[in-house]
């Protein structure tokens, strides 16, 4: 598989504070990655280092095959960091034209990209007249001008209203559907869960997990059950090795699986036992729950 970005023991210190410590991971072409972590966990610093704006303290990183200079590699990357930064006195079109000059790409894709983010009718309005949502969409258009190999988004929905958040997510999904590799940094777990296939989780500058989202926690998932014959059900579950922990709260029984089991088989088994379920849901932990489990494990 083609590698887009490789980090090897990358570290950054700001004085005594270790913002990023010995971070290593690789980004492969075609996947959608999330970098997760609470505020101040080193997400933006990491992105800053690979994007040439923050100097690394030690370690290495390289783009693609490592043969091109970082600033030239960045011409094949599209990135938005925290806040949209443009020249306020220039129009949307002029701002994008400038980006084209910097990236050495022709200017004929400007209209197409403005169309994609729904700003074509504001093409000649100056940037300072834009709302935050529009500014962020212009930033996305600008990041896409070179049809990048990878799109890097750092907190793209920060500070937006629900409508703006929705618009940005729709655009990201559209881009991901085209097969563009995406690296999305966020502290909003549901945001990452909705679009990412892989995650890197950081805490206090250290990596605590990297890999597929669904393999994050070694877990078989759990059943959520409701029935009128609670005692019968509980005793069945307790005597079955396939179930580990069992929780009962507000009439909802949660049974954690220790071995894989299919909901239909379980339902059939219940019928044989003469237990009628009024509610049966098989679920895996949400990213948020997994994240909390993972960070808790680490702190122990």
């Amino acid at each position: 598989m083609e590698t887009i970005l490789t980090l090897q023991n990358l570290s950054k210190k700001f004085g005594l504070i270790k913002a990023v410590q010995n971070l290593s991971f690789t980004i492969e072409k075609g996947n959608v990655y999330g970098i997760l972590g609470p505020n101040g966990s080193g997400k933006s610093t990491t992105l800053g280092m690979v994007l040439n704006v923050v100097n690394k303290t030690s370690g290495n990183f390289h783009w693609f095959d490592g043969k091109v200079a970082v600033h030239n590699a960045l011409k094949k990357v599209g990135a938005i960091i925290e806040r949209p930064n443009f020249y306020p006195y220039m129009s949307a079109y002029d701002n994008l034209k400038l980006v084209c000059k910097i990236k050495n790409v022709p200017t004929d894709r400007i209209d197409e990209k403005l169309e994609l983010v729904g700003l074509l009718e504001r093409k000649y309005s100056s940037f300072k007249t834009f709302s935050l949502g529009m500014k962020q969409r212009l930033a996305i258009a600008s990041a896409l001008l070179n049809d990048p190999e990878i799109l890097i988004l750092d907190e793209p929905t920060n500070g937006l209203d629900p409508q703006g958040i929705h618009q940005i997510r729709e655009i990201i999904k559209k881009i991901a559907a085209k097969g563009t590799t995406i690296l999305l940094a966020s502290h909003l777990l549901d945001e990452v869960e909705k679009v990412c296939s892989h995650v890197v989780i950081l805490r206090k500058g250290e990596k605590i997990y990297s890999g597929r989202v669904d393999e994050m926690v070694a877990s078989q998932g759990f059943f959520e059950l409701k029935t009128d014959q609670e005692n019968q059900l509980l005793s069945y579950l307790q005597n079955n090795n396939s179930f580990g922990k069992i929780k009962r709260q507000d009439g909802l029984i949660t049974a954690f699986l220790t071995a894989p089991m299919n909901a239909a088989d379980f339902n059939q088994q219940m019928f044989k036992e003469g237990i009628v379920l009024s509610h049966l849901v098989q679920r895996k932990e949400s990213l948020e729950e997994q994240f909390l489990i993972l960070t808790k494990n680490q702190s122990n």
Binding site: F14, G48, L51, N52, V53, V54, N55, A69, V70, H71, N72, L74, K75, V77, A79, I81, R83, N85, F86, Y87, P88, Y89, M90, D94, K97, L98, V99, K101, I102, K103, N104, S142
Partner: protein
């Protein structure tokens, strides 16, 4: 190089303030054209005709125009300082780097623009000076070697501008904020003036102070085009000849050149070491 120039030109030309300052800095030198042709009649008492002072004739005109027009460099100095300050305040410097401009290219694009501006304005001044000179010098004196004698001041003017704007660029990178950077420029000018005063009147004498101070930023620029007043006075009263050291010497160009290199190199180093 052309790409970097185009980038910088777009940034400045689309900014209203920079555009106005750029235009002003080109229009003002033209005012000396008007000044040279003016004859002011003070209510019939006497007529002030500057052209009678011979200052608009070759070879003096080269010295006079370059000296006075250099005073208008402050308009572009504001542009230079703000072209760094604005990048910081709009955070566009960060975005430029992310988009694929290297830190070296950032500094180079600014330097190329300064270079191009200095070249163009020098050309304008050259044409203006030539025009005034040809119009004012008695026609029997118009030989090629009279016309171009003293024209080394044009080169001195160019180097002076380049040194000054490179200094502004460096201060802009150092201070990051336009207003503070301009303040710093002004204060450093005053400080050097005080230092010069101390050297000359308190610690040492005229010769030593000149020898030491010629290496300082502002004095090195000043030395390229010395003030022309004493030279003009000497021209009219050859009897009370004051010793003036007006020509632009090669080592003065060298000192200024070294400063340009230092300014640009330090700007680059400063930017490279910074986290944005």
């Amino acid at each position: 190089m052309l790409r970097l120039l185009q980038i910088e030109f777009q940034k400045l030309w689309l900014n209203k303030t920079s555009k106005i300052l750029l235009l002003i800095s080109f229009i003002f030198p033209l005012s000396i054209l008007i000044l040279s042709s003016i004859k002011i009649n003070f209510f019939g008492y006497f007529t002030l005709d500057l052209s009678e002072t011979k200052i608009f004739e070759f070879p003096y005109i080269w010295h006079i125009t370059t000296f006075f027009i250099a005073g208008f460099k402050f308009f572009f100095a504001i542009v230079v300082v703000s072209m760094i300050g604005n990048e910081y305040s709009n955070r566009t410097l960060k975005q430029n780097l992310i988009d694929g401009l290297s830190k070296k290219e950032v500094i180079l694009s600014k330097f190329y623009f300064i270079l191009a501006y200095s070249l163009v304005i020098t050309l304008v001044v050259f044409i203006i000076t030539l025009t005034i000179g040809v119009l004012n010098t008695p026609s029997q004196d118009l030989y090629i070697d009279t016309i171009f004698s003293g024209s080394e001041f044009i080169l001195a003017y160019f180097v002076k501008l380049l040194t000054f704007f490179s200094f502004c660029l460096f201060v802009g990178v150092l201070i990051k904020r336009s207003a503070f950077a301009l303040g710093f420029l002004f204060i450093s000018f005053i400080l050097e003036l005080i230092l010069y005063g101390l050297f000359r009147f308190e610690w040492y004498n005229y010769d030593v102070s000149n020898q030491v101070m010629q290496f300082f930023p502002f004095t090195s620029m000043w030395n390229l085009i010395d003030e022309p007043a004493t030279r003009i006075v000497a021209l009219h009263n050859p009897s009370d000849m004051v010793v003036t050291d007006y020509p632009a010497y090669w080592y003065e160009f060298l000192i200024a050149g070294v400063w340009i290199f230092i300014y640009i190199f330090l700007s680059y180093r400063l930017l490279k070491r910074r986290d944005l």
